[in-house]
Structure formats: C-alpha cells, structure tokens
C-alpha cells in the first residue's frame, strides 16, 4: 500500500510541472493587458510603458518563465500584480474558506444525494421514486446563481433567518460560520446532490438485481440487512469515485456562488485574477489548486485500493 501511495505521488510531479508550464504559456497567449487594467483607458502610452516595466511585463517570455521557475524552486509563487500580496500567502489564506464550504457542501451532497438515490431505488417506479427523481432533476437543472438569489430573498429578506452574504470563519464563531455558509453551501451542493442521487439510484438498482441479493432475499434476510450488509459495499465503489470528483469541483470554488454571497474563497480569487489578468496569481493559484486536486485524487485512489485490494495489484 505504501509503495502504491509513493508511486502515485511520484507520478504527480511531472503533472504539476506540465500544469505550471501550460498555465504560464496560456497566460502569455491570452489577450488582455494587466497594465491597462491597472491604469485604465486614461493613462498615456508612456505611463503604460512605465507601468509594464515596473511590473516586469516588458521582459521576454523565456526570462519571465525563468524567473517563475527560479522563484518556484525557492517556494515563492511571486507577488500578485493587483493585490500586491505574496501569491502563496494569499492562496493559503483563502483555502480554509473554500475547504470549509466544500466540506459543508459535500456533507449535504452525501446526506441528501445518497438518501434520495437509495429511497428512489428501494421504491422503484413508485411515487417516492418519481418525487426523488424530480428533485434530482431540479437539482441538476436549476442554475446556482438563480437559486442563490431566491434563497437570499426568502431566507434573508422575507424570513430574516440567514445573512445575505459574507463569511465568518468557523474558528471565530462556529454558529456564525454555519449561518454564513449555509446558503452558499446549498447553492453549490444542489447540482451535486442531483447527480449523486441519480448515480446512487442506478447503481443500487443494478446491484439489487444481482443474483447474490436475490439469494439473500430467498434466505429470508431482512431488507435492511440486505441493503446495509450486502448491497452497500458494492454501491459505495462507484460513489467513492464520484465523491472524489465532486469534492474536486467544490474545492475549486464557484466564482458565481462566491460572488453572489460575497465569500472571498479560491473561486472568487482566481475569477478576479483572470478578469484582471493578474498573471502571477493565476499561475500560482492554478498550481496550488492542481496540487490540492492531485492529492485528493491520490487519496481517493488509496481509499479505492483499501476498499478493493485488486486495485493495488493493478
């Protein structure tokens, strides 16, 4: 298992190198001018040229790339052109916000997605199945920005239960965090709930039709025992994979949700960096997110290998 884990980590290094190279190259190709974004249309050509020089944007691609990797080897992802802060420090500051929201969304996704899917599968073709699938379809179809605004009107303006936006760290005030994170977490989770519910239902239906389940029923085992002891382990295999992917999506943050609820997470950070053509922040931020996602994938693979020893042999 340890050899397997080490092998997977070693494989991640060239991937990260490629990610950094591609993100750097793409940034140089994308049109737009960070200096013009900073100075606005009213600056003179000379002022813009000076600003480009100050920001190091007048250097050649190779020189800029060399500086980037040289800094990277020293653990420095550079300074944001717009925020003026070290990229690594900023990303690390923002990560707990996105991680806490992602975990909250994931808990909601697992709770509701798996429950709805299982209820639908166990009540196949009955009214509960129909209702569950309508809910799942709605989850997949409703745009999260619309849902976010509807929730604000309902829960903040009409009922006054939750704040319209902002973020309170869990470490400062757990209840405040719960109040500030609930609507963004629901807005981010809804689509994933729909996807997971549909997957759980179809996987469960497939497994419930297997011979060994029929045998278990023929032996007179209770339905709960059949589901929990015999079906669940096999249902979990594809679900673990999907949950890994869902967490990847949630961790990357949602620019739209974070903007609506004014949450300063990774999504908003990278979204703004892209809009402002803040090259160091985009490059550093992408590298950080890619590293996090790679680690997450390795973790999922390890869980997979733990659940199914055959994976390790492959």
């Amino acid at each position: 298992m340890l050899a397997y884990a080490l092998r997977r980590i070693a494989q991640a290094v060239p991937i990260l190198f490629l990610v950094s190279l591609i993100s750097f190259g793409i940034m140089q190709l994308v049109p737009g001018d960070p200096a013009a974004m900073l100075a606005g249309p009213n600056a003179t050509p000379a002022e813009l040229a000076q600003l480009r020089q100050n920001l190091g944007l007048d250097r050649s691609f190779l020189v800029q790339l060399g500086i980037f990797y040289s800094n990277l080897l020293h653990g420095d992802l550079g300074h944001s052109l717009i925020l003026g802060q070290p990229v690594l420090e900023t990303v690390i500051e923002r990560s707990p916000i996105s991680i806490s929201l992602a975990i909250y969304s994931l808990v909601l996704t697992i709770l509701f997605g798996i429950s709805i899917g299982m209820v639908a599968a166990m009540r196949h073709n009955r009214i509960l199945d129909q209702i569950a699938m309508v809910i799942a379809l709605l989850g997949v179809s409703v745009p999260n920005f619309w849902l976010g605004l509807v929730m604000i009107v309902l829960f903040s303006v009409q009922l006054g239960w939750l704040p319209t936006g902002g973020y309170i760290p869990f470490t400062e005030d757990p209840l405040g965090w719960l109040r500030s994170a609930t609507m963004p977490a629901i807005a981010m989770a809804l689509m994933q709930i729909g996807l997971l519910a549909r997957l759980t239902r179809s996987t469960m239906l497939e497994i419930l039709g297997q011979d060994y389940i029929r045998t278990a029923r023929a032996k007179g085992l209770r339905e709960t025992t059949i589901i929990v002891r015999h079906a669940m382990a096999n249902v979990l295999m594809p679900i673990v994979t999907v949950i890994g992917m869902i967490l990847s999506v949630l961790l990357s943050g949602s620019v739209i949700v974070e903007t609506i609820f004014a949450v300063p997470g990774i999504g908003a950070l990278l979204g703004n960096a892209i809009l402002a053509r803040d090259y160091p922040m985009i490059q550093g931020g992408l590298l950080f997110v890619a590293s996090a996602l790679l680690l997450l994938n390795i973790a999922v693979d390890l869980i997979y290998a733990w659940l199914d020893p055959r994976v390790r042999l492959q």
């Binding site: 974004m37 249309p41 050509p45 605004l149 319209t164 936006g165 609506i260």
Partner: protein, 525 residues
C-alpha cells in the same frame, strides 16, 4: 504678500473653495451623534488601497477616507487646499509655496512634515498612474518642516488642477514609503479613519483616528476637502458585487448604505420607509472613441455620417434603464467649462443626412467594428443600440464583444481590428476642462489618430486650455476644442448617467459624491 495672495485668489480656482465657505472656523457640531458601526455595500471588488497606482472607483471609495492630499477638489471640483493651509504663487507663476497645516499626524502617530510630502510626490512621479500631472515640475524643495515648494519649468495655469485631480490622487504618505513598489504601499495616512483590516474581495474595515486634525478653514465636508470628522466608531466597506444581493442586504439592515442601486430596484426601494434614496445627477459620461487609424472611420465623412445617424435618447434609455440626461458637452451643466459648442451635431437622429454623407465619403459597405464588452452592461447596450441605428442608416455595423480586459487591451494596444471603443468617464468629466479633453490630445491610449498626432486645430485650443492664465480664455478654448471634437468626430458623448445610492433611514448627513465619504455621517438612534 497681500498682492500675491490677491493675485492667487483671482487667478486660481482655489478662490472658489475659500470664498464658498469663508475663513470662519466652524464651531457647529458636525456629528449629530458619536459612535456606532456602519457597513457600506460596494458594487466593485477592491484589490488595493495603493491610491498612487490605482484608478478604480472602489479604491477611492475607501482610500480617500484614510489618506489626504496637499490639494484636492471641492464639491464643485474646484481645487482647494487640504493638508496645506496656505499657498503662495510667485509673480512669475513658476514657484508654488505650500505651508502645511500644523499638528497633522499620520495614523502611526508621526507628525506630517514637508519631507513626507516630498517623498509622496517622488513616489508618484516614479510610479503614479497620472504622473504626467507633474510633467511641468522642475523640482521641489523642503526649506523647513512646514514648507513645501514646487518650482515649475515654465508657468502652467492648470497646474493646481493637475495636482489636485482626484482620479488617481497624489495622496500623502510617510516619507519612508517613498520607495514602496506599486501596490506595496502601507495604508498609513492622515485621514479621519485608519485601517483596521483589509481582506481583498471581501471587506475593508476602518476605525476613527483619534489623532485626526481637521481642516477648519472650510466648514463641513466638500468634495474630499473641508472639515471632516469621524462620527462613527468603525466603517466596514463590504464588497457586494451582485446588485440583487446588495439591495437585499440594505433591506435586511445588514448594510446601511449601498452604492449603485439598479434603476429597476429604485421604485421598490422608494416605497420602503426604512430606506432613503440619494442621487448624484451627473456621475458619469457615457461615450465612445472612434479609431481614426482604421478604415472606414479614418474617413471624416464616414464618422460624420455615423454621428448624424445617432439618436442619443434611445441609446441612453436602453443603456441606463431610463435614468439619464442628454448632455451635448464633455462637461456637465453647472461646471465651469460647460459649453454646448458643437451641440448642433449631437443627437441628430438623421439617417437621411447620414446616407448623403456616406455617399459623399464613397462608402462601399465596409465593416464598422464596435468593440465592447458584456462585463459592463452599459457599454454593451450602448454599442448594441448604436449598431442598430447605424444599420438603419446603411452602415455595415458589427459588434465585437470581448471580455473587458481583452477589449481594453485591444483598444489600448491595437490600432487595427476595431472602429469604436465604448467606455464611461466617471471622474474624468468632473475634473475640469483640460482634464476631460486630455484623453483626446496626443499622445493618448485609446484615441488613435494617425501617427498619434491629434487634430491640429484641436491641439491649438487644447494648449490654450492647458496653459492660459486667463480663465475666460481657457473657457473659450474649451468651447472651440469641443466644437472641433464634434466636427471631427474625435469622440461621441451619448449622455450623462446618475449615480443612485440608498441608505437606511437612520443614516444622517450622507451626501452623494463621485466617491463615498464616511466622515460627517452618523447613525440616529
């Protein structure tokens, strides 16, 4: 000395500030109540407080409550003294001697001296975005701690207008910050509020600076100047970019003031007794620049045809959801340089004349590319309606819709591939005649004359506008330059847009301005 002062009062706009308020020290209580915490909902994300290198409204909204300047603009955009209490101009018009207000301290407790002013000017000259404001400066001197002297290479009548311009103001910071790189400035000012916390994309919190020394020569707040007082304990500027969420936060009372209320929400909010709407009538000028280096807009007759085809009322109606004023000028009514010269060419709505001009121009249906962005809905809608009006006059108009950084980068760096670029002058128009027409004088970024040489007649008038010591002559030059801009179609103003803001009913003393001022406002109990 008296003669010099009299001359100064007569020939600079400082007079406007001093005469408006008189020199009587204000004795009246400014704050109806002291204390309380206010939250302000901003529409734009704030990325930096380094006012020297950022032209964004969001930065000014916060930074101008923390920093102050040697000279600034009053409510009518006239230059007035801020950190200086006295200004003398030499007879040859080349030496400006400022006496600093005594007792002023930075938020770190250190007293303000002329070395700090010199250091701030030096940083601005090195990296400031509008550093061309200091082009006329030969050198500066600090004969003593309270005196800052600027010596110009040659007299320039609009020098005070330039150094007091508030688009990218020359804020005064401690001398040890003079070498700070762009965006690395520590937010340590002399203003009524000091920084507590800055979380980019989220919020900035400021608190009352107890050591603040107000400028008592002007009673009450005026522009960024005047007698400012922090009535509130703290102010939190929260980024609430989504308009629906922003107005919802005001309705729930989570924020007490919001910037930029969508026009469509105005009626609903006006019925809420807990909310007050406030409006700045002339907040921005919606306009477009033609590219003079790219066919067919390199042809004057084609540009004139396009201008003739436009119905500004329809364009502005769509672009502002009905909240606009027609404005045949690059200044706003009431401003010193306001003129309707050339206004007969504004809002012509004459497709037939356009067709005749196109025929004269030998126009053969070449594409006219309108470069715009959906990131700024006003710019997109303006371009969309304009393109339809152009099509109705037989012009082959085509939209090129890009994201804002790409569109801006293209307009600044490329002289091919586009014919019109859409933007809004927010504070540019307000800064005065020379400042507003500076964008059309060479060298400039988005105005693309062939060889970067602007129209000769326009430049002649612009130079008078920039350098004549006689205000009447400058006003006349502005009018002539503006008429030339309309005649040569160097830029097309569509109309003025207001700024609609809203406060909770318990907010007192809030006066809308181009930027947010949180001094002199308090919360009723």
């Amino acid at each position: 000395m008296a003669r010099i002062k009299a001359r100064l009062l007569a020939c600079t706009a400082v007079a406007a500030g001093l005469l408006s308020w008189g020199t009587a020290a204000a004795q009246a209580e400014i704050c109806g109540r002291k204390g309380g915490d206010l939250v302000f909902g901003m529409e734009a994300k704030l990325s930096t407080l380094d006012q020297h290198v950022n032209a964004a409204n969001a930065t000014r909204n916060v930074a101008m409550n923390i920093f102050e300047t040697l000279m600034t603009r009053d409510e009518n955009m006239a230059p007035v003294l801020d950190l200086a209490e006295q200004l003398n101009v030499s007879d040859d018009g080349k030496t400006y001697t400022f006496k600093l207000r005594p007792g002023v301290k930075f938020h770190n407790g250190k007293p303000l001296t002329s070395a700090d002013v010199a250091g701030s000017f030096a940083r601005y000259k090195r990296i400031g975005i509008d550093r061309s404001a200091l082009d006329a400066v030969d050198r500066w001197e600090t004969p003593d701690d309270a005196t800052f002297r600027i010596i110009l290479k040659e007299p320039r009548a609009t020098f005070l207008e330039s150094i007091s311009a508030s688009t990218v103001p020359i804020v005064i910071v401690p001398a040890d910050q003079s070498n700070a790189e762009p965006t690395q400035l520590k937010p340590n000012g002399t203003g009524p509020f000091e920084l507590v916390e800055f979380v980019a994309d989220s919020h900035v919190k400021v608190k009352r600076f107890d050591g603040y020394v107000p400028n008592k020569t002007l009673k009450g707040i005026s522009g960024f100047a005047g007698q400012k007082e922090a009535c509130l304990d703290t102010v939190t500027f929260r980024t609430l970019a989504e308009p629906g969420a922003r107005t919802a936060a005001l309705e729930t009372g989570e924020v007490q003031i919001v910037e930029d209320v969508p026009t469509l929400s105005r009626e609903r909010l006006s019925k809420n007794k807990d909310i007050k709407l406030v409006q700045l009538d002339y907040a921005g000028l919606n306009l477009t620049y033609p590219n003079l280096s790219q066919a067919p807009t390199d042809n004057l007759k084609v540009r004139q045809a396009i201008l003739a085809s436009l119905n500004m009322e329809d364009i502005m109606d769509a672009a502002s959801d009905g909240a606009f004023s027609l404005n045949p000028s690059f200044q706003f009514p009431g401003q010193t340089y306001y003129s309707e010269a050339g206004g007969e060419l504004y809002n012509q709505n004459n497709p037939e004349k356009a067709k005749a001009l196109l025929k004269e121009a030998g126009y053969k249906g070449e594409k006219v590319v309108l470069l715009t962005t959906r990131d700024i809905p006003r710019a997109y809608t303006t371009a969309l309606v304009m393109s339809e009006q152009m099509k109705a006059a037989g012009i082959n108009a085509e939209l090129l819709v890009l994201d804002w950084p790409t569109a801006l980068g293209m307009s600044v760096n490329e002289s091919k591939g586009w014919n019109f670029f859409f933007t809004t002058w927010i504070t540019v128009t307000a800064q005065g005649g020379a400042q507003s027409l500076r964008n059309l004088a060479d060298p400039s970024n988005v105005h693309k004359p062939v060889g970067n040489k602007s129209d000769e007649e326009f430049m002649k008038q612009f130079n008078i506008l920039s350098s004549s010591p006689d205000l009447e002559k400058r006003k006349e030059a502005f009018a002539k330059a503006q008429a030339r801009v309309f005649d040569q179609v160097m830029a097309i103003p569509f109309g003025a847009i207001p700024k609609i803001q809203a406060t909770r009913a318990n907010v007192e003393g809030y006066i809308p301005f181009f930027n947010t001022r949180v001094s002199n406002i308090w919360l009723k109990q």
